[in-house]
Symmetry: C2
Subunit: 381 residues, 2 copies
Amino acid sequence: MGEGGVGDRPRVSSLKPRLLLGPGPSHVPARVREAMARPTLGHLDPQFLALMDDVAQRLRALFGTVNRVTFPVSGTGSAGMEAALANVLEPGDTAIVGVAGAFGQRLSEMVTRMGARAVRVEAEWGRIVEPGALLEALGQHPEARLLAVVHAETSTGMRQPLEELGAALRGGETLFVVDAVTSLGGIPVEADGIGIDICYAGTQKCLSVPPGLAPITFSERALKRVRRRTRPVQSWYLDVTLIERYWGGERLYHHTAPINLMYALHEALVMVEEEGLENRFCRHNTVGIELHRALEERGFTLLAQEGYRLPQLTAVKLPGGREEAALRARLLDDYGIEIGGGLGPFKGTLWRIGLMGASCTRANVRRFLRATDELMGGGSG
Amino acid sequence: MGEGGVGDRPRVSSLKPRLLLGPGPSHVPARVREAMARPTLGHLDPQFLALMDDVAQRLRALFGTVNRVTFPVSGTGSAGMEAALANVLEPGDTAIVGVAGAFGQRLSEMVTRMGARAVRVEAEWGRIVEPGALLEALGQHPEARLLAVVHAETSTGMRQPLEELGAALRGGETLFVVDAVTSLGGIPVEADGIGIDICYAGTQKCLSVPPGLAPITFSERALKRVRRRTRPVQSWYLDVTLIERYWGGERLYHHTAPINLMYALHEALVMVEEEGLENRFCRHNTVGIELHRALEERGFTLLAQEGYRLPQLTAVKLPGGREEAALRARLLDDYGIEIGGGLGPFKGTLWRIGLMGASCTRANVRRFLRATDELMGGGSG
C-alpha cells in the first residue's frame, strides 16, 4: 500500500474552511474544537464521570428544567427524536403529530415505524400548526400517548408556539414532546415552565458543537410512562432506563459514551454560561431580524408566517422566481459561504440561511449580503 | 451566572491524561485528535462528500470486502450492532445467536426487543461457541433469518472462529452477522473471504479513534433481504435504505453526519494504510502474546480458551484469588493507567487489559507490568 494515486485522495488537513450559514452544522469555535482534541479518557474514569454530571447540570439550565434524567443521546438530533418517541410509544399507541415541514414529517414517520398510529395535524409549510387544531385532535383521540410538535422547523424557519399546548396537556395523560433541535440555545425553551415532558435537541445548531450528540430531557411523568410499558423499548441503544443507570449514580456500563464530543459539548456549555442565556437569545434575535429585513429589502420573500419567524433559521424564496441552486453553488465556491437549499416541496426554490450559535454575528450577515448582492447584481436577474 | 462555585466545577482543560489499557477507548494519537479539531464543514459540502467516499473505500479495505454499502453508523459500536440486526429482522423472525460473554448476550437481547426469537447457543464465558453447535441449531431452525456471533468477545478475550460458519452459511438463506467491534484493525476480519453478510465494528478499539462511530458493511445478499422486508425498519435513524441514499450517489440528506468524528476516522484509516494491515496485525499479535506470557509468569490465569485468545484484549483472573477493584483503582490513581474490570459473572474477579490500536506497544506492556509488580509485591499477596 502507499504507492500510486494516494496523492489524489482527500486529506483532512487539506479541507478548505467555509463560513457555515446553512441549516447546520454551524460554525464551531476554535475553543470548542480544542477542547474536543484533548486526550481521550475512559467512559468510567472518575474525571469523565464528573464532567458528565456537569454536562447534565448545564443542560438542565439550558432546557429550563429540574429533570433528573437529562443527558445527550449518543447520536445526532434524529437519534434524539427517535429516543424521545421510542421510549414512550408501544405498538398500537396513538400519537398526535403537528406536521408543517420536513421535521414534523419525520416525527410522523418514526411514529408509524414504531407500530404506533400517527394522527397528523397538518399545516401549510411555513405556517404554524394551530394549537387549536392540535387540541381538537386530542379531543378526538383522548387515548393519545403523546402530542409532538417541532419548536423550530428547520425546513421552513417557523417557530411553533408551545404555551397553549403545554397548559392544556399539563396534568393529563398525554405527554408533550417537543423537538428543540434548532431552538435550544438560540431561543428560549423553558421545558418546565411550558410543561414539556420530553424535549430533545442537536448540538450542531445553536450550541455550535460538531454533530453527534442529541441533548434530551425526560420529565418524571414521562419516566413513569416508560416504567409502565408492557414490553421493553424496541431500541436497546436508546432505552432511557438503561442509559440512566450509566448517567445516574449506578454508573453501570451501557455503551461507550462519545468522550471527545462530550468535551466539546461541555466547553460550549461553559461558553453559553459566560455569554449568559438572555444575552445569547438577544444576540440571535437582533442579528436574525436584521437579516430578515435586509432580505426583504432585496425582494426576497420570507416563507415563515409573520410573528412566528425564527431568528436563527431564515427560509426565503428568491426574488423574481430565480433559480437558487447555481447561485448557492457560487456562494460556496467563490465566496466560501455555505447556506442551505429547500427541502421537500421547496427543493430548488428556497434558500435557508442559518445564524446559529457562533455563526450568528452581524459581520457574518454583512459578508453574506455583500456576496449575495454581487451574485444577484452580476447575474441575469 | 458565572458567580460562585464555578471554580470547583470540572473543566475539560484540567483533565489529567491516562494511559488507556482498558477494553476501550484506546489511546487516540495526537495526529487523529488534531484532524478531528479541523474546522467543521457542512454534511453536503463537496469536500466532505469526497472525504466520505474515501472513508468508505478505506473501510472496505479494512473489512476485506467489495461491498458497496460500507459506512460508519452515526453512533457507537452498540448502534452498529442494532443497525446490523434491525435492518434484516422483522417481528416473528428467528435469529441464532452465539452467547459466550456480555456482547453475545447483548446481541440476543436486541434480537428479542425487535420482536424476533433468539435461539441462543451458549458456551461458558471464556470458551468459544462451538461452530458445530451453532450449525446444529441452524439444522433445527432452517428458517433462521440470521446467525450472529461475536468475533472478539470483549468481556472474555475470546476469539470466535468464523471460517466454518461462513462456509456453511454461504449460498443459503441465513445471513451471517459478525460483531467485529473489538477485532477490526487488530486481527484479520476478511468479510468477503469468510462469507460474512453484515459486519460492524467500533472506532474506539483497534482503530484508536474516539468513540461515536460504528463502521458497518452489508453484502448484496443482506441488502436483498432488506428490500424484501414486509414492513419498514423499525428504526428510522438506522435504516440502511435511507442512509445509503446519502452515502451513495444520490447524496440525499438523511441525518447530519458526525463531521469531525469522520475527520478523525479518516486520519486513523490513513495511519492504518501507512503502517500496513499485515504489520498492524503482527504488532497486535506480538505485543499481546508478550503480555499473556508475562501475566502467566506472574500467576495470573487467562480466561480465554487456549488457541482462541485475542492479543488485543486479555482477560485474567488475579493470582491467589486477590480482590481486583482496589488494585485497579490504585493503578488508575497512582500510576495513571486505566484497565477494565470483569463484566457479568466476573465482576470483581477479573482484569481486562486492552492493547488496541495505538495503545498496543511493548513500552505500554512494560509500564503496566512494572506498576502491577509494585502493586502486587507491595500488597498483601
